[in-house]
């Protein structure tokens, strides 16, 4: 796998997601648009403090059909979910040392959008984070969490 947060890393991650039939089956059919905001918090060396990496992911019938990094905040109109959290939290999830549900519950990571659908497809959430947490395949050129 490539270095974390590089375009190649996201490309590889999304290819991995698209290759998993269990995801395609568990993701509700239809169109879903998700913004992910990775906020530099001074702990992660991959996102400078005070900056945010803005990603947009577009799913159609269980497959990722588009993903790209935005220079600014992804416009909220038409989005289904916006996930926001500190870079060290996202790093921690990728490194499998942070539980995504736990940080969602304690508000460290915020999820905006209609949670009803996620609740009705609860298995899907686990599988998506399972794909994200490919720590063994991710390169950490500037060091790996937990950060000192």
């Amino acid at each position: 796998m490539p270095d974390i947060y590089t375009p190649e890393w996201y490309e590889a991650m999304l290819s991995l997601a698209n290759s998993r039939d269990d995801i395609s089956e568990k993701v509700p059919q239809g169109e879903w648009k998700i913004a992910v905001e990775v906020v530099g918090d001074g702990k992660s060396p991959y996102v400078p403090e005070g900056t945010t990496k803005n990603y947009f992911i577009h799913l159609l019938n269980g497959k990722v059909v588009e993903s790209k990094e935005y220079p600014d905040k992804v416009p909220g109109k038409g989005l289904n979910y916006r996930i926001n959290g500190a870079a060290s939290i996202f790093d921690g999830i990728a490194a499998e040392i942070v539980d995504p549900v736990e940080v969602g519950l304690n508000g460290t990571m915020t999820i905006r959008g209609d949670m009803r659908l996620l609740m009705q497809h609860a298995d899907m959430v686990g599988v998506i984070f399972e794909v994200y947490a490919q720590s063994g395949l991710t390169e950490w050129p500037l060091g790996k969490p937990p950060y000192a």
């Binding site: 913004a35 909220g76 989005l79 736990e102 915020t110 209609d114």
Partner: protein
């Protein structure tokens, strides 16, 4: 005969009907709102009830969803130049006990912790952990569980199990579904006064502490224990703000226009006929924000809905009790003897005077269910003038005492509230407050005037049996069960007839949830551009 056609007709200009119509108007629809009363606002009612210059909120007084409910932002209700202003009292609430002690709940949780610690350090720590835990997912859950059409509670429970939420939280448990608020408090807290203070928060929100299943909502409620806000100039100002936005959205509001009948054409709701015979037509839909009996029993012809729906409507349950209020025009703001124990009690907005343990609540609920007026009134006191100097003449104060009370007294009917009994009981309530006051005497109350459970229903017929929550708060009448499984998604068996009032999920109170959620159903059915959804 007047015949006008609109895209949508909304029956009832309470806050839910007003909000829904404004959203639809802003979506480009031509909307008519018809209101039985002489003014808009429903429960957002403020009147000069005692004396000229003294503003009294006759129904809604506590607005606890400002900042949590999307409607305020979507419709610019708190924005410049003409939105409402809210006061956020630093000492949100307090309890005064017979032994002269007091507890206070602050917007500053460190101060709340300090107050609770005087009774139990363990409880203070527990409360802080609970509050922090709930704050983490409060916004997410409120938007999911209140500001979206309801889903099956079993789906929620299943998701929480899949995500192993119980292993990751201290207070969130599936078994809360089979517990009362009393059970929850007894499980986690040790001091009766702390429990009484926290239970008071639930009770004032309409959540009876002994109803099985309500423990599941209680942690969320405690998460907003520091979000009690007062509408400056009276709650009716919020209705004014809504009305201004309705006008800007091109919505037509007709007061004094009671709907007598919902018109049907080819099985769809096609318009309404007023009691005076005037007809208005709707190309797209009719939405009713009034109660089920009015909608299905009086406005629709017999046979318009299936027998099962009729039966569901007829078996709809209202709250066991109502509220009896004494509105007061005062020469000054009361202060309390318990201030020698906790000076902050004199700054508390909402006061519990009388509930010292959970058993006190249970006794009152039991009495009310039997139709008995609690012999010893336990009070909910609010002196709005402490935070809103506009609601009384300079140097004077407006205040109110509320107690839980039955609609029908001793099974003799609500008419008992029209007899001198109401004044006798009002004095009893005032006396109870005065017992705890320090230097504030009967003569400091210029005028006191009761407002009874019967008055509630007489003014707002929607609030059947004086029920300001417009339906019981119990597991069998929340989420998918409110008002019934077949009506829970805001649609009805009559094509193009929707429900948007407080009989629907989540419930009464100034949540805006019913109107907002009906909008989601309507948007889906009519393929509306959901401009209000900005994730």
């Amino acid at each position: 005969m007047n015949k006008e056609t609109y895209d949508a007709i909304v029956i009832g200009a309470g806050h839910n009907g007003m909000a829904l119509s404004t959203y639809l108007g802003k979506s480009g629809w031509n909307v008519l709102v018809l209101e039985r009363r002489l003014e808009e606002g429903g429960g957002l009612s403020t009147e000069l009830y005692t004396e000229s210059g003294f503003l009294h909120n006759l129904h809604s007084n506590y607005h606890t969803f400002v900042g949590l409910c999307p409607v305020y932002d979507d419709l610019d209700l708190v924005a410049e130049p003409d939105g409402v202003t809210y006061a956020h009292p630093p000492v949100q609430m307090g309890s005064i006990f017979a032994d002269g002690t007091a507890i206070t709940v602050h917007t500053d949780m460190a101060k709340t912790h300090a107050s609770f610690s005087r009774f139990s350090k363990k409880d203070a720590d527990t409360f802080l952990r609970l509050h922090k835990e709930v704050k983490g997912f409060q916004d997410l859950m409120i938007r999911t569980l209140m500001y979206a059409p309801p889903i099956d509670v079993n789906d929620i429970t299943k998701a929480l199990a899949t995500w192993k939420v119980e292993d990751k939280t201290e207070f969130f448990r599936a078994k809360l579904r089979s517990m009362t608020i009393n059970d929850f408090l007894n499980q986690h807290f040790e001091n009766e006064k702390v429990k009484a203070m926290l239970a008071f928060h639930g009770a004032v929100c309409g959540y009876y502490t002994d109803v099985v299943g309500l423990a599941v909502s209680f942690p969320f409620m405690l998460g907003k224990i520091d979000n009690w806000k007062l509408c400056i100039g009276g709650s009716h100002r919020l209705a004014h703000a809504l009305w201004r936005q309705m006008r800007r959205a091109g919505v037509t509001l007709l007061p004094a226009a009671p709907v007598g009948e919902i018109l049907l054409e080819d099985g769809r709701a096609s318009g309404v006929r007023l009691e005076d015979g005037t007809e208005f037509y709707a190309d797209k839909l009719v939405a009713s924000s009034v109660d089920l009996e009015q909608t299905f029993g009086k406005m629709l012809p017999a046979g318009a809905v299936p027998k099962e729906t009729r039966e569901e409507v007829e078996s709809y349950k209202y709250q066991d009790g109502s509220l009896f209020t004494v509105h007061m025009a005062m020469h000054k703001v009361p202060t309390y003897k318990a201030a020698s124990f906790d000076p902050d009690i004199n700054q508390a907005w909402v006061l519990n005077i009388g509930y010292a343990c959970l058993e006190d609540y249970s006794r009152d609920w039991a009495a009310i269910r039997k139709g008995e007026v609690p012999e010893e009134p336990r009070l909910n006191v609010a002196i709005n003038s402490m935070f809103d100097p506009t609601d009384a003449p300079e140097g004077k104060a407006t205040g109110m005492i509320r107690v839980f009370a039955p609609y029908s007294v001793d099974n003799k009917g609500p008419e008992v509230w029209s007899t001198p009994f109401k004044d006798v009981y009002a004095q009893k309530c005032v006396d109870k407050m005065l017992e705890h006051c320090d230097g504030f005497k009967q003569e400091d109350i210029w005028v006191q005037r009761p407002y009874t459970p019967k008055d509630i229903s007489d003014k707002l017929v929607n609030m059947v049996d004086g029920d300001w929550m417009v339906g019981s708060i119990s597991e069998s009448n929340l989420m998918l069960n409110r008002p019934s499984p077949s009506l829970s998604q805001y649609r009805t068996p009559v094509k193009d007839l929707y429900l948007c009032g407080s009989t629907t999920h989540p419930h009464g109170f100034i949540t805006f949830g019913p109107g907002y959620n009906a909008l989601q159903a309507i948007a889906e059915d009519f393929d509306l551009d959901t401009w209000w959804v900005e994730i």
